[in-house]
Amino acid sequence: MSCAQVAVRKSATEPLLKLRARPLRLALVGNANVGKSVLFGRLTGQYAVVSNYPGTTVALTLGRALIGAEVCDVTDTPGVNAVEGVLSEDELVTRRILETGETDVVIQVADARNLRRGLMLTSQLAAFKLPMVLVLNMADEARTHGVHIDAAGLAASLGIPVVETVATEGRGVAALKDVLANAAVPNPRGDHAGDHAKWAHDMAVQFRRLQPRSAARVQERLSRMVREPATGLPILALVLYVMYLIVGVFGAQTLVGLIENGLFKQFINPAAAFLVNRFVPWAIVRDFLVGEYGLITMGLTYAIAIVLPVVATFFLVFGFLEDSGYIPRLAIFSDRIFRAMGLNGKAVLPMVLGLGCDTMATMTTRILGTPKERLIAVLLLALGIPCSAQLATIFGILGGISFAALMTLFGVVLAQMFLVGFLAARVLPGERSEFMMELPPIRLPHMRNVVYKTVLRVRWYLGEAVPLFLVGTALLFVLSRLGWLAAMTRGLEPLVQGLLGLPARTTEVFVMGFLRRDYGAAGLFRMARAGDLQPVQAVVALTVMTLFVPCVANFLMMVKEQGWKPALGILGVVTVIAIGTGAALNTVLHVLHVSF
């Protein structure tokens, strides 16, 4: 074992901090949603995305912290309910780091309110014989709920240091750093060996005092209102409506209008055209920069003017909802629906997350219980969930046409998801797992965390999406120059013009959509603005685009999570469904003479 030097330590008196060949490795381990990532941020000064629901961290995050005079490597791990028995994919990630000797000291983070559950994990962690420290986080919330813990008594009994913290405020973090040197292998658990639950229960009874009190009246009432159908469903409708107002109206219309018409049409594009025409002597380069498929006139305008405002407003609202604890409660209503689709209510987390970014959400499917559930969830994400960038263009185009147009698109896409899920549940082998899920407390979000998360995600969008956007624009330019675009347009004519009833130019848009469907949709946005797209055509084209696989990055993530064969299978199935649905929708709308 590579960590023998530490693991064989017999007593807490021997100093842990001493000259070492490599940095000391600390791992933050604990139940889901106890604040490991917040503590990670406090220790390392790095930000790991923090939310108020289990499953925000599904992979390891690494960072460095200065403890005393020593630089240590810190690992933030996905939350676990257990580290032995039947484990989910993300729990295995955590178990692996304990098994492989990749860590020298385990910092177990527990929710002070849930001492019993925390101790159950302590009991399992003790089996790895690694030096440990127990952190009782959210000590403030515990106190408001009337939970008092005898930390000193607990420490003496366990034989490891126990520290109470409020990580979001940084309280207790200094104390934690101080006691790290005393990290020790927990005491043997006496005669309860094997029965973690009984031992944890007895320990909790011994060291915890409960004062029945309901200090958090408002919290309780709110929690009840969002959970009960009679009030919860109207609240859900209200939340969606407010979200639509902020993202679909303020973001996609007001802000886009200001930035596109105000900034780009009046200043940036004319200025760029002027400068390029003046200083660039080669026509082809001029065309590449400011022509019809120009990098600035098309690529940058789409990315910054059309998509960015919506991505930013969406992540702001979304971050607020994430931290409020509202999103997991949607599982209560959706469990029955998801069960028909071979999933359970927990699947609401990756699905809602997909509205932010399908690629990230594909990774989050790890929190689901069985391989079959993960495959179905990945398929449905690829098929039906529009990401924020794409929502931008959907709201932008259809919001300008009519509410009925918007509802048609969402209706068709949701129905298609349900149908595909329903069939997949019956066709694919394997089982679904039963629905049992922890609901995080309802909290008023810290606006600082919400804003910080939004900034981080917008920066990520700019860093990851914009370059690809520009590559797509360049690709289109090259294809158009070589005459291939015209050839493809002719080749796909029966499909695009015949079957889907769309203008020939839409083919270009679909080429872009293959890279990222929101670019495709952004192309549609421009066509719609120019009046080249009838309302029915806009609805059909956007429906097809929404049902496509989201983007190259999402496809690669599918390959990473599921392997090549399932990923290619999903790509094929999704493409056929997208075009088939588009053709059917086009026919139905024409037969019924719908014009929106």
């Binding site: 309910n81 849930n114 559950r117 159950m120 229960h201 929690s223 009840r224 922890e438």
Partner: protein
């Protein structure tokens, strides 16, 4: 309020009721293990909050939502 009343299945208890978990049926091993990991073990206090569309209850200090089949496997001694 009699102490001797028999244990009831969580799925059939009125919302608002409080009690203690006496047993988690082990006929479905996976289920019992997962429940245990969430803190649903004999001795834990329980407060039933809702039965539909999902069963929601407070177990110790954790709020949990489960499907009816799962709630059926949890036996509660009502206080």
């Amino acid at each position: 309020m009699s102490r001797s009343s028999p244990a009831q299945r969580l799925a059939s208890i009125e919302p608002g009721t409080r009690g203690h978990i006496v047993r988690v049926a082990r006929d479905h091993r996976d289920r019992a293990d997962r429940l245990m990991a969430l803190g649903v073990t004999p001795g834990a206090s329980i407060h039933v909050l809702q039965q539909f569309p999902s069963v929601v209850f407070m177990c110790d200090q954790t709020e949990l939502a489960v499907e009816p089949a799962v709630a059926d496997a949890i036996l509660v001694q009502i206080e």
